[in-house]
């Protein structure tokens, strides 16, 4: 089967800085892969490359069948990205934000409502402006936006950061459900214990390159 993500010698520049200096990565559809590595290793840039937000300047890069070196826009509407930023309009309410972003992606109204319910945002919080929310609540809203868009590739950058225990469990549940439904998931995380528990395998990213692949990681942890 064609891999969901295929990178071979991928190089990506942030200005004059080679954030990725030769990444090899193959991820099968439905697979959950943990990217681990020190700060500045290039994990975030790797995720942004897969989302089509950052250009791959050399090497091969194919995501969900789209050759990113030719066109990195077509893939965008099919991926969901959770980054350090929330991607929300501060002055709009939680419900407004989820409705706007999910409608932009062509999702049905029911998807937005279901996503908010799943993240525990369907009650009083729905009508609260985002700038009044706590960091954890914002993260839940971002996750609701992502869930409502029904992406085929989930790109999660430190998804557990800033969440309480129940929020973390919620993230793990979402990832498991997404993978079960056939979506592919890439997680960059420093919370290795937790991330390894949900990932099928982990890949080390160091100095802008993939260092090693360890299959069946989950079995060891379990």
């Amino acid at each position: 089967m064609e891999p969901a993500v295929h990178l071979r010698g991928a190089v990506s520049l942030l200005g004059r800085f080679p954030a990725l200096a030769g990444v090899d990565l193959d991820v099968a559809p439905g697979e959950v892969v943990l990217l681990q590595g020190p700060n500045g290793a290039g994990k975030t840039t790797l995720l942004r490359c897969c989302a089509g937000l950052v250009a791959v300047t050399a090497g091969e890069a194919t995501v969900l069948g789209h050759d990113l070196t030719v066109d990195r826009r077509a893939v965008r509407r099919r991926v969901g990205m959770l980054g350090h930023a929330t991607g929300l309009y501060e002055d709009l309410t939680v419900a407004d934000n989820v409705a706007f972003w999910s409608r932009a992606a062509g999702a049905r109204r029911g998807d937005a409502d279901a996503a908010m319910a799943r993240l525990g945002l369907d009650g009083r919080l729905a009508a609260v402006a985002v700038h009044r929310l706590s960091a954890g609540q914002r993260r839940r809203t971002s996750l609701a936006v992502m869930l409502a868009r029904r992406p085929e590739l989930w790109l999660l950058d430190e998804p557990h950061a800033g969440l309480d225990q129940s929020g973390r469990d919620l993230v793990d549940g979402l990832v498991a459900d997404a993978a079960a439904a056939g979506a592919t998931v890439l997680i960059a995380s420093h919370e290795l214990e937790r991330a390894r528990a949900i990932a099928h395998r982990s890949v080390a990213v160091v100095g802008g390159a993939t260092a090693r692949t360890s299959p069946a990681e989950r079995d060891h942890v379990a």
């Binding site: 942030l14 004059r16 200096a21």
Partner: protein, 251 residues
């Protein structure tokens, strides 16, 4: 290898330009006659009109190169657009200053809000904005793309402004060259054309040098880039050599 941006071609071009300026001085200040109406002041024309023409030509090159850059995305067009705008700005400044010096004795004021003056002043401000975008601390490719769009956006404003101010008010004399006007003396006309040619040569000469300097600046940046990629790769292979990555043991 030569260690300057000059080559045989540019040296010849520069020499011709220099001789041209000597000839322009001779014709402009000595050989050409004083004007019946304006007297000696008419000699300002030999600087004022050519700089204006060449400056407008330079901005036309910038707009065209911006469009070409957006279509082709090659460094060459980016450098042409950049260099031409800089030289055009210098020439336009010369136009404005010489115009003021000319305006004071003929009109009695340095500046007036006549149509052509207004359009020219506005164009000068627009170009200053364009050059400000050129100096933004961004990635080279991003800056090139933004500058190309800004360069392209100059066009409609300049055109609309031209019509707006022409309808609005006009004090500046109409085009003297296009008109087959008997009032312009033969030698006067020749001097004016000579001025145009000399300033056009100056533009080309400066353009070649500016282009080469900009090109070399980019190459210096690229040198740093190769080193950076090499370093990044070493960082990666260094980590590979150690049995356990710094991120912690694999359980």
């Amino acid at each position: 290898m030569n260690d300057s941006t000059a080559s045989t071609g540019t040296r010849v071009l520069g020499s011709i330009t220099l001789v041209g300026f000597a000839a322009l001085l001779l014709f402009g200040l000595v050989l050409s006659p004083a004007d019946a109406a304006q007297g000696e002041l008419v000699r300002m024309m030999y600087v004022h009109v050519p700089t204006a023409f060449v400056a407008f030509g330079a901005f036309t090159v910038t707009v065209a190169a911006s469009v070409a850059y957006l279509l082709r995305r090659t460094e060459w067009w980016d450098l042409v657009a950049h260099g031409s705008a800089e030289i055009g700005a210098v020439l336009l400044a010369a136009t404005l200053v010489s115009g003021m010096l000319w305006g004071r004795p003929t009109w009695g004021v340095y500046w007036t809000w006549d149509a052509r003056l207004t359009t020219t002043a506005l164009l000068f401000v627009l170009v200053l904005g364009y050059l400000a975008v050129r100096r933004l601390p961004l990635d080279r490719d991003k800056r090139a793309g933004l500058a190309a769009v800004v360069g392209l956006l100059l066009l409609p404003t300049t055109i609309v402004c031209h019509y707006a101010t022409t309808w609005w008010r006009t004090l500046h004399q109409g085009p003297t060259i296009a008109r087959a006007d008997p009032q312009i003396d033969g030698l006067l006309l020749f001097t004016l054309v000579l001025g145009l040619a000399v300033f056009a040569l100056l533009y080309v000469w400066m353009m070649v040098h500016r282009f080469r300097v900009l090109y070399l600046e980019h190459r210096v940046e690229d040198l740093g880039l190769d080193t950076a990629i090499a370093e990044r790769r070493r960082e990666a292979s260094g980590a590979l050599a150690t049995p356990r990555p710094a991120t912690g043991p694999v359980t």
